[in-house]
């Protein structure tokens, strides 16, 4: 293991009304291309993701992010700064901008901050062919009913959410249940594109998923979380064969 982790978590803790929801001693993300995070209901998976993206403030612990050569202490950053630094999360529940078309929604993701200022409304507009070409390219991978119109079905909205995140060119992409609400063929299309991006670009992916088959098929490394603690991690086979995993998932001790 010579590859340096993109994200190092140590002693991370979070409680809600006295109940410790997350208590992770050590977790390194980004040594493998696509990594998984699994665990039973209430294991603290979504809370852990929220702590990483700074949506939630941790009670204790450190979060170190290494996008390039530099080390960034995420605890000093706000959620939007974290996203701009290349640490981006897709949403579990379908999220959408009601009045933005598919294309506008993607333009929003690609717009640089300096063009989104109060006074830039009066400045001249440049044609942004590069942006449109990039949008066309990514849309070509997916069968939107009307790519120039609105995302209508739940599946299209979910897909749009993931594409928006990919357009931000993240270094680490966190995916919270990418397949929930997405038809099987689209799930495969998303995962194929993610695999391609991981192979071609400097991108690492960390997935929460209930569809365990997807985890076994696509992840090189799997982390198992239960009761807020990281109980085991390893290759898909190692995790599958770990007795604790079966016990926590099914309440069965011997199989």
């Amino acid at each position: 293991m010579t590859v340096e982790a993109k994200l190092s978590i140590a002693g991370l803790e979070k409680s809600f009304v006295g109940r410790k929801v997350v208590s992770v001693d050590r977790l390194e993300i980004g040594r493998h291309g696509i990594e998984g995070l699994i665990g039973p209901n209430g294991a603290g998976k979504t809370t852990l993701m929220g702590l990483i993206t700074r949506k939630l403030k941790a009670d204790a612990g450190t979060l170190i992010y290494r996008p390039g050569g530099t080390e960034i202490d995420l605890r000093q950053m706000s959620m939007d700064q974290v996203a701009r630094a290349g640490l981006v999360k897709t949403n579990q529940v379908i999220q959408d901008f009601e009045t933005l078309s598919i294309r506008d929604s993607l333009r929003l993701a690609l717009a640089p901050a300096e063009r989104e200022q109060f006074w830039t409304v009066f400045t001249k507009r440049r044609k942004r062919d590069a942006v449109e070409a990039e949008i066309d390219e990514i849309l070509s991978h997916f069968p939107f009913e009307n790519p120039n119109g609105d995302a209508r079905s739940a599946g299209e909205k979910k897909l749009l959410d993931i594409i928006r995140c990919l357009l931000l060119k993240p270094k680490v992409l966190l995916m919270d249940e990418p397949t929930a609400g997405l038809p099987d063929d689209l799930t495969r299309a998303v995962m194929t594109l993610v695999q391609k991006k991981v192979a071609e670009e400097d991108l690492k992916v960390f997935i929460i998923e209930h569809d365990l088959d997807l985890i076994w098929d696509y992840c090189a490394h799997v982390n198992f979380l239960a009761d807020g603690r990281l109980l085991c991690s390893g290759t898909p086979q190692e995790v599958k064969d770990h007795p604790v995993v079966v016990e926590k998932y099914m309440g069965v001790v011997d199989v």
């Binding site: 309440g251 069965v252 199989v255």
Partner: protein
Amino acid sequence: MFEITGLQSGYGGVTILKDVALSADREVYAVLGANGAGKSTLLKTLAGIIRPTAGEIRFNGERIDRLPAHKIAALGIGYVPQENCVFPDLTVAENLSIGGILGKRSKADRLAELYDLFPDLQERLDQKAGSLSGGEGQMVAIGRALMQEPSVLLLDEPTAGLSPRYTDLLFRRVAEISREKQVTVVLAEQNVTSTLGIARKVHVLSLGKTHLQGATDEVSIEQVRQGYHI
């Protein structure tokens, strides 16, 4: 007699349950599956909280899948959700009384019967339900559902977050209720071993579809495990 055929259901345009069929009659019918398998969606659909997009639900031969939730409850189908299942600012006694609005026999008779079943509750009648522990809260929620003298009880992961002691106690009570009152219990659970101990039939869901179903004594744990994909 509770019968479901070709059931399809979900939220906000997302289909979660696909083509689920089952029938249960005066027995504990266990619905197992990993998280995200669709257990809660199934129970909510049966209780009328979500309307199915296809399929039929019959109760004693009558179709109930188009009825609103309160009419389904009035037919004697009690539903205990996984979370927020007690009124936290009401006392235990008040919580139970609310359940007693429906039902034919006198309230006092039914309450007396309930205390036989859950002796712990009697000591806490004046306590606010919000201050109870998780296990006690579940007892109150089930008790409230029993006050309406249901012939079907839909329980959504009643042992989630409970200590092993309470899990054990709760399962014994559930088995007792089903046996003595001839109540059909549809029990959604993650906990496989204890559930198989009290259920006559088992139904394993996997990503919204039926992975396997059958009599408990004919199903092996290995088969169930495949439905969990681990």
